[in-house]
């Protein structure tokens, strides 16, 4: 059982067991060897038929000098990868993704968890309203979100208006148009949009926790903070790990909100790997180079995934 590592099973009895006992638990004596494969088959067919064909095709295109339109491209081997390694924009973009990823993952998790705890109990009045407010940003089309935030974060927009109302009368920054703030502003928009998703997952995880644990803690006189720290957090560790992993991948794949608010600018100050991939193939007609960047993105994401899977397993043992 090596892949469970990104999730720590929340119920104590299943959490730490010697490998031998896991194996005996996993397969009942009469289970045929082929059974698990039958369960996996439908998902595997879909993923191989679509994703792997996509990866294979992209891998092939990444070895071409091709505009994506002509009948065929010219084979150039690894030239596109060599060019990518020397491309300062790629490294710049990776730096942006790193900063963006750390900010958004941590803040979205913390805010989502706090809201899930607050709204998970019956202490708050009008919970459905709060839940809708948290969830609406997740479902809104990027076009609406981006257009609205271009206005909100403009020098004469509502955000500076709010700052004025709070007594910061000098607030006149162009939050998205200033290279010093643009990346952080995009991170803020992302946090606004995706905290509701962290909230949703924590909500599902908390609803699974055995209530008797809380009741026992209450009898022992543990305060809210202690209950969260020693009972709730360990119980939702699996979700936290999942969010960290999907957050990393999400950061690497962030596209719409960047493309529609700053377009990667000013200059290259908010260029992401995905916006660069898109611009290379759609605006500059470098399908081969763009495919190589896609493959680099894929390898990066896989490496990150592997590291995280290992990290969480070590954390568990």
């Amino acid at each position: 059982m090596t892949t469970t590592v990104i999730n720590k099973p929340p119920v104590q009895s299943a959490s730490v067991k010697p490998p031998a006992s896991r194996r005996s638990n996993g397969r009942t004596p009469g289970q045929r060897a082929i059974t698990p494969w039958l369960y996996i088959l439908p998902a595997a067919i879909l993923v191989v038929g679509v994703i792997y064909v996509g990866i294979g095709y992209t891998g092939w295109v990444s070895t071409l000098n091709w505009n994506g339109i002509d009948a065929s491209g010219r084979q150039v081997g690894f030239d596109n990868y060599i060019a990518a390694a020397e491309d300062p924009v790629l490294w710049q973009a990776l730096g942006h993704v790193l900063v963006f990823g750390i900010l958004t993952i941590v803040i979205q998790m913390v805010l989502g968890l706090i809201m899930a705890i607050l709204l998970g109990s019956n202490a708050v009045f009008g919970r459905p309203i709060y839940k809708v407010v948290m969830f609406l940003p997740v479902v809104l089309a990027p076009a609406a979100v981006a257009t609205a935030f271009r206005g909100i974060l403009a020098p004469d927009g509502q955000f500076n208006g709010l700052l004025h109302a709070l007594g910061i009368s000098s607030a006149n920054s162009a939050w998205l148009a200033d290279p010093h703030f643009a990346l952080y502003s995009i991170a803020a928009i992302n946090i606004w949009q995706w905290t509701g998703f962290s909230f949703l997952l924590y909500q599902a995880a908390i609803s699974q926790i055995d209530q008797t644990l809380f009741e026992a803690a209450a009898i022992d006189g543990a305060g809210t903070f202690k209950v969260v720290r020693y009972i709730l957090l360990p119980q939702v560790r699996g979700t936290t790990a999942t969010l960290a992993l999907t957050g990393c991948i999400g950061a690497l794949k962030t596209f719409d909100i960047v493309y529609l608010t700053t377009g990667g600018g000013p200059g290259r100050s908010t260029e992401f790997l995905t916006t660069y991939v898109y611009k290379q193939v759609i605006e500059q007609y470098h399908a081969g180079y763009s495919a190589a960047l896609s493959i680099i993105l894929l390898i990066l994401a896989l490496t990150l995934t592997a590291i995280q899977i290992r990290a969480y397993r070590f954390g568990e043992d």
Binding site: G68, I69, T147, A154, P155, A177, G267, R268, Y285
Partner: protein, 446 residues
């Protein structure tokens, strides 16, 4: 009919899914079972222009004159258009006729198109090239990949005369006058000049205009590798471009504003007094267009007077002002994969060189591709100022200084990046010229 949000929600959630199933089914089946006579053909026509609000008028007029051909139009906004067409046009189920933007798109999409020169010679006449404007911008390696629909030019500034009058400002001809006008306009709480500098194309327009004031026409040689871009002139143009931002001509926050819809909305709502649009905005001089826009921008737009003027001399002693650059705004191409080439060309011919279609074009004050159709100057909101502006425009359209669109996408990208970086203080003007020159050298193999 009053529908509250609540009522709508429940309806959609519960009832309509089933109810509309019936509607959907019938719609599908009528679509596939159109009874057709053997001679009748259906043409798929894709474009970003005309859009969903205008296409019916074109189709109705066309089908009236060509009853054997049915046209199915698909509007795809320009943001998604290249990605959709580059794929669809490689298949037999894509468009028969599709629009092309001159410049990089035309160059790259050329393999997807049929050569229109023989068809044009046969159907329009041997002298087809002299009947139409600027057909040469739609030629790639000797192949006529499209025919022009209308001609537009950039290099202008539009001002809202209503606001100017209210502020007591006069349209500027140079930088000092521009700053004076801005002071007066900002005094009545209106933005002076709005630039959607997130959109590269409008930055390229303004930069070309500045460069043409310093060294008329050299820009077009330089971006094609036939003159140096890394020169004092182009560096000076970058310096002036930067000063438009730092001296407050271009509004703060411009780099996160789009030309469409953000800046355009602000201009039409009367929140900004000036904008860098080209001749494609001409229909906004007509009372008809203004009236049609009240739904979006309120009644105030009906009394607004929009007037184009030459971009003011911002370089201090411009060699020339008022020169326009441009060409075909949309070129109509036929997919090489189309199995209905003849019918497809009937549509292209009608759009580009029929009296009916080109007169429709002229009615919205756009310069028709067909030279024999004049642009009327009727229906103007304020003929006293707009008639002379139109006359000047017609003169300049006949004397274009260059082709507006850069044909090499890498050069266009390098210049766009340089403009955004210079404007935001991340690059010096000298480094900007050098970076563009580097892209030109790579593109033209030096």
């Amino acid at each position: 009919m009053k529908i509250t949000a609540q009522g709508w929600m429940t309806k959609v959630a519960a009832v309509t899914v089933i109810a509309i199933a019936a509607v959907g089914m019938t719609a599908c089946s009528t679509g596939s079972s159109t009874t057709s006579s053997s001679a009748k053909q259906t043409i798929n026509w894709w474009s970003w222009n005309p859009d969903n609000t205008q296409d019916k008028a074109w189709i109705t007029a066309f089908e009236k004159e060509h009853p054997n051909i049915t046209v199915k139009h698909r509007f795809i906004q320009i943001a998604d258009y290249p990605n959709a067409v580059r794929l669809a046009a490689t298949s037999g189920s894509g468009p028969d006729v599709f629009g092309l933007q001159v410049g990089a798109m035309t160059t790259q999409f050329a393999p997807l198109t049929a050569d229109l020169a023989p068809l044009a010679a046969k159907n329009i006449g041997a002298d087809w090239k002299s009947k139409l404007n600027a057909t040469d911008q739609l030629v790639v390696s000797g192949k006529q990949v499209g025919l022009p629909w209308m001609i537009t030019g950039g290099g202008l500034v539009w001002y809202n005369k209503t606001i100017f009058d209210k502020a007591g400002a006069t349209p500027p001809t140079n930088l000092a006058e521009w700053q004076t006008a801005c002071a007066k306009i900002e005094a009545i709480q209106v933005k002076c000049f709005i630039q959607g500098a997130k959109d590269d194309w409008v930055n390229l327009d303004v930069y070309q205009t500045i460069a043409n004031q310093i060294t008329p026409g050299t820009f077009y040689k330089a971006v094609n590798g036939k003159a140096s871009f890394n020169s004092a002139d182009f560096t000076k143009a970058f310096t002036i471009w930067k000063s438009l931002f730092s001296d407050g001509i271009i509004q703060s926050g411009a780099l996160a504003t789009t030309q469409y819809p953000d800046a355009n909305d602000a201009f039409n709502k009367g929140q900004a007094a000036m904008i860098a649009f080209g001749t494609w905005n001409d229909d906004h001089m007509t009372t008809a267009t203004l009236a049609a826009n009240t739904a979006t921008y309120g009644d105030q737009i009906k009394s607004s007077v929009f007037v184009p003027i030459a971009f003011p001399d911002v370089v201090g002693g411009a060699k020339e002002t008022g020169r326009l650059f441009g060409g075909p705004d949309v070129g109509w191409a036929i997919s090489a994969k189309s199995t209905k080439q003849a019918a497809a060309f009937t549509l292209v011919q009608w759009l580009t060189s029929s009296k009916t279609a080109q007169t429709m074009m002229a009615t919205s004050l756009q310069t028709p591709a067909l030279k024999s159709v004049p642009v009327p100057d009727t229906g103007l909101a304020d003929p006293a100022v707009q008639k002379p502006a139109l006359a000047e425009q017609a003169k300049q359209i006949g004397n274009l200084i260059g082709s507006r669109q850069i044909t090499n996408a890498d050069v266009a990208t390098a210049l766009s990046q340089a403009l955004s970086s210079v404007a935001s203080g991340q690059m010096t003007p000298a480094a900007a010229s050098a970076s563009v020159q580097k892209a030109i050298d790579t593109a033209f193999g030096k």
